[in-house]
Assembly symmetry: C2
Homo-oligomer: 303 residues x 2
Amino acid sequence: MKLKDIGEISLIKGFAKTMRLDSSVVKGSGDDAAVIKWTRDKYLLMTCDMVIEGVHFKLPGASPFDIGWKAMARNISDIAAMGGLPRYALVSVAIDAEKSVLFARELVKGMIAAASRFKVNIVGGDMSRSKKLMIDISLTGEVEKPNVVLRSGAKAGDLILVTGAIGGSGKGRHLNFIPRVKEAREIVTRFKLNSMIDISDGLVMDLWRILDQSRVGATLYQNAIPLSKDAGPFKEAISEGEDFELLFTMSIGEARRFFRTYLGKMKTPVTLIGEITKKKDGYELVNGEGKVEKLGPKGYVHF
Amino acid sequence: MKLKDIGEISLIKGFAKTMRLDSSVVKGSGDDAAVIKWTRDKYLLMTCDMVIEGVHFKLPGASPFDIGWKAMARNISDIAAMGGLPRYALVSVAIDAEKSVLFARELVKGMIAAASRFKVNIVGGDMSRSKKLMIDISLTGEVEKPNVVLRSGAKAGDLILVTGAIGGSGKGRHLNFIPRVKEAREIVTRFKLNSMIDISDGLVMDLWRILDQSRVGATLYQNAIPLSKDAGPFKEAISEGEDFELLFTMSIGEARRFFRTYLGKMKTPVTLIGEITKKKDGYELVNGEGKVEKLGPKGYVHF
């Protein structure tokens, strides 16, 4: 049997099952970052993310600066989605020796630009040769214990909120997006969030991940979902990847407090797009005509 | 200008220069692992290491279990070389979807075997497709502040010591070696080391790295260097890579105390192979005939 026959998810799940983790690991794989007990007040967060030519970007096409920025920013976004602050990065680059020095410098500049903007220290790395360009970055962050937000804490009755706007990232924004660290920190330090994820595989898929880990259902309201000016048709916009917006849930009481006391002070819009329901109520969308459609991890479910 | 014209070292040095690091970073790139202030008593250690098909191993040839073991063990060895304990790993794998599930499982088994043996928690990872197999692992460790050992602390007059035996790793040991964590911890918790590195690019190159960072010279004694039973000719044995033994220096007084009180209790041999000299005395080998030969980073220097 070949890997393509069982898929990445099965393999990773099998992998995760066979590993023993000691009691210092609060959360291993399966969230935006691992959570580790480290000091009395703070958790350590650890994440890694790989971008590969031909899979995550194309050459020529993407500029090397943008590729470097994206490779770093994806990881920063993962730390933001835990409510944390990014701190230390390790950068591995595999690159063709036939590439120009200028290309490599621009790649590095892009990584450093993203790192500098979010006060990330690049503390090491590794370099090797490869026909296809590959960048793997691991990022360590920190978060005060009360502020950590997992995917698994959503509760029936929670409201579902999203930063910014959805869709159209394929037109370029997926390469030069600004990870929502500032927004995440503004919110987690003032309000109690029950769950959070960053949208890297589309709103529908990433909300499904919250539902799956929290064992709940959800209803989304089509007319409430803010679409980016670059977005295509609605169904496409909520299914395509790499918005890198934050998707989170709060109790109604906490959400009310957030809307009344803080939303007006934020530069980035935050929009209420749905609510968490009981698992038995399933994953649904109330469409533009007020009709209910069924959703699944990969988008609309057709019968 | 192409990358192959300037080389990896220049690029990485240029990279390192343009980065700003905050005061929490005790040591960034340039050692076996980065050293970061984290708690009152301990430093955080961070390292990453990539292995790529065709560069670090060949397929078919190496078994997937061995490749997995090696990818993890290289990182563990880096943490050992800082005097630390390995703790948390993130694993990125890029693999051809045409590979068999069995192959992938064996690869994972090899990683888990190495991780389990050294109590490393695999807390996350990433997976992607690539024609050539690539594994990048980042490993976080910890070390009590007084026990951390850098490459840069060697002093003229120090003795140079090495664990185990040198050479011949190409015959298979480079794939299934046991990282010297136990030995490093036995020694750093009892004795003051001035510098340490693990031998991943050959004794001559890796000692040169200590000399370069410590601004000192060294004299090695050919007749004192323990060769592995698999080793080829002496010149080859001390120049080839991937012994993954620990190379370290101590003051004469501390070394004497080590030899008298502790060496007899260790299962792994530790051998005195030379001494650190002043920088102006250069990098030398006293050969089997008692003659002095000049060494450089890449081995013998010929005039």
